[in-house]
Symmetry: C2
Amino acid sequence: MQRKTQFRDVFYVSDGTAITSETVGHAVLGQFPLDTKQTTLPFVETIERANYVKNIIDQAHSKRGMQPIVFYSVVIPEVKAILEQSNALLYDVLHAMVAPLAKDLDLEPKPQLQRSHSIKKDTDSYMDRIAAIEYTLAHDDGVSLNNLDQADIILLGVSRCGKTPTSLYLAMQFGIRAVNYPFIAEDMARLKLPQAIEPYRYKTFGLTINSDRLQAIRQERMADSDYASQHQCETELDKVEAMFRREAIPYLNTSSLSVEEISTRLLDMSGLKRRMC
Amino acid sequence: MQRKTQFRDVFYVSDGTAITSETVGHAVLGQFPLDTKQTTLPFVETIERANYVKNIIDQAHSKRGMQPIVFYSVVIPEVKAILEQSNALLYDVLHAMVAPLAKDLDLEPKPQLQRSHSIKKDTDSYMDRIAAIEYTLAHDDGVSLNNLDQADIILLGVSRCGKTPTSLYLAMQFGIRAVNYPFIAEDMARLKLPQAIEPYRYKTFGLTINSDRLQAIRQERMADSDYASQHQCETELDKVEAMFRREAIPYLNTSSLSVEEISTRLLDMSGLKRRMC
């Protein structure tokens, strides 16, 4: 059982954004006990740049005396040929799946440059995404409760429980129009849904968080304030969670979740469709 | 050369967010002439839910009389075993790379649940990301030009050329603190860098766009206004691009680029490091 930690240089190379290579590479590397230095080299579209990249990789090899790891996705044949002469461990992130799929479907693959992450500006999908970002920005942090009929989801929770990053991620990645509304200290005496939200309660979704996490986050923002006190955090969370239960609003504890996990769990729980952007 | 368009149901299944399966699946499918209906089934963490998912896949098969395509990434062995009994074309999005990497590195892989897209809230990286989003929101659309010493990048351009989505994407995906500043009609007579930005000109980056695209986007927002007129769009773009050249500010035309492409090209051109979030 070899579990000692190796060091490797890692390169993500693509003739597109390299986002796919990064995503796959990260997930794959997450399964190994490796120390890495990671470099992303996108838009390798010319022979000149391909030679430059090959050079960087070969230099890393000479310097460390160890083959770097290269995750790549390259369509242009001349670029690919040069890259594959690098002195490295080379992993084509899509080929391993494209080949069997072509066989299973009896279809010929047609590699396309910048095939992913390149929706054009003149498509409805692009416009929808921009509109969702705008709508979400205009409805961040309770700034506006107008036009809630156009909302896809209305996030509720105490200040600093993760509403804003989640809303923006939903808009950016999935084209979802998200409203978020914070309950503040002044609301606590008689906590209820704002009148403007009442008709759209079927769109509401609660976020909550453990009080120690909330305290740490608020402390970072406003050290030693009432706002960041243990008492205030616990009181707000107790009252808001009680309201979620009383009003039968589905809710999620964000304490141990990333923004991606909160967003995708929330979509799953609410039945909202992901629109791929 | 078979190029006729097939139809297939496609499922993305994971015991995590399913973001990796979606990213890979999209890129792979982009190479085939396929009509698809796509469904994402994340957080398949129990035997019960695995059976539910298997059922959905098998029903799709019965209904269409054709095997659905399943891109999956599942760590829990019991869940994986059930899923792999589905009547479908099954593609494990990571295994094809994990196996050869393990061999090449002579390391044993250790599959981890939710290994990607799950940075915990108590890490610096999470806090950095949240701070970057907040900074970027506070510096959107010229709202504030304070604290520019903390900016990683300052985006400049006419209204509606893509600054806001790009800024938010940079903050969200790469933890970059982005300022964006719009030049407006009133600036055009004597166009120059705002005084507050002058000391940080080495952080500036220009965005521009073709005038017909700009007109279409502005038309959508404010139909038949001066703001959306051909004359106004052309004038603003001419003047701003002339300023970019005069001031030696690097710039990028966003007309045919997605938000991902603008962001990654900009990082590449500016030499800013991607911080993985």
